[in-house]
């Protein structure tokens, strides 16, 4: 399985995957014009990881501002995690945020409302 190591740009987050460790990390802002196109390799990676084996997946997020099309992509990722969780897969999300910016916590909280797997919102 090919891992992703995508550097951040002004409008897109850093994305790292580590299939051996079962880790996905995203860090930064996300407001590209066409999020769906941009994030399709990430969606493919998540689907591929969840479709193979039974290793746990941990998602570590340090995301800040998301435009609505990025929110839609994140929802797709969380939906995939939710399906895997329903099938007995161990999945966990840690969303880290700066206590100065409560908007990030509110955003994370709204995603968590629709997820039944462990979803931790961590103040820093």
């Amino acid at each position: 399985m090919t891992d992703l190591r995508i550097a951040a740009t002004q409008a897109t987050p850093e994305i790292h995957t580590d299939h051996a460790a079962g880790l996905l990390t995203m860090r930064g802002d996300s407001y590209p014009e066409n999020s769906f196109e941009l994030f399709s390799p990430l969606l493919e990676w998540v689907d591929g990881f969840l479709a193979s084996g039974d290793a746990p997946l941990t998602v570590n997020l340090h995301l800040l501002y998301l435009n609505t099309s990025s929110v839609k992509v994140m929802m797709d990722i969380f939906d995939a995690l939710e399906d895997a969780h329903a099938n007995g897969r161990e999945v966990t999300v840690h969303w880290h945020y700066d206590q100065e910016n409560e908007r990030v916590a509110e955003l994370a909280e709204e995603f968590r409302e629709d997820c039944s797997f462990p979803f931790h919102i961590i103040k820093q």
Binding site: A11, Y65, T68, S69, E102, V104, E110
Partner: protein, 196 residues
């Protein structure tokens, strides 16, 4: 002005090219408490660069992180909606023109406004959408947001503005407001205002 040749050759034409009254412009900006404005073709990189300037400005003003995020968020959704709309019409980058203004009102609240030319029929639909959202309270907006989020990508409304508009309505401290001004050519100028 790089294009000085023709006016130098044609003094009569040159007379029409009066020196812009920048002082009057400056006074208007000051009176309207305009922090930042842009008028012209909106490209992807311009959205990012102006966004960067906006963020720096807000940081310099020591705006609260949540307010800064809301102003930036409203700016991004508005400008990207305008770009998406132009693309959906098959217009090129030069036709994706917008007028964007970020100002403060008398109470010191940030006001993000943007306007663009739309087909009149789309403008009417947009105005209806905006007025519909303006009537919703925070809980109803959240429900509408989650419903819109769950819609498949290809079922989005023609303008594609649905989710962005709801997002702006949720960030706003006042109901969204818009003005639709009909133009003679079957188009209209649509202006949207978000008070943070």
């Amino acid at each position: 002005m790089p294009d000085q040749g023709p006016s130098a050759q044609s003094p009569t034409k040159g007379n029409h090219m009066e020196v812009l009254d920048l002082h009057a412009l400056q006074q208007t900006y000051n009176e309207q408490r305009i922090l930042l404005c842009f008028n012209g073709p909106l490209t992807r990189s311009l959205i990012e660069e102006i966004g960067k300037a906006l963020r720096n400005y807000l940081q310099g003003e020591n705006a609260a992180a949540s307010a800064a995020t809301d102003v930036f968020g409203a700016y991004i959704e508005m400008t990207q909606n305008i770009r998406h709309y132009a693309a959906s019409k098959g217009w090129d980058d030069l036709e994706a023109c917008a007028t964007v203004v970020i100002a403060r009102d008398l109470e010191g609240r940030y006001v993000v406004s943007a306007g663009n030319v739309v087909d009149a029929v789309d403008g009417t639909a947009l105005a209806q959408q905006v007025n519909g959202l303006a009537a919703l309270d925070k809980d109803a907006l959240k429900t509408a947001y989650k419903m819109q989020l769950r819609k498949p990508r290809d079922e989005e409304t023609g303008s594609g503005a649905g989710l962005g508009l709801i997002d702006m309505a949720r960030r706003a401290s006042q109901p969204l407001a818009c003005v639709l001004r009909e133009l003679p050519d079957g188009r209209a100028f649509f202006s949207l205002r978000v008070v943070i």
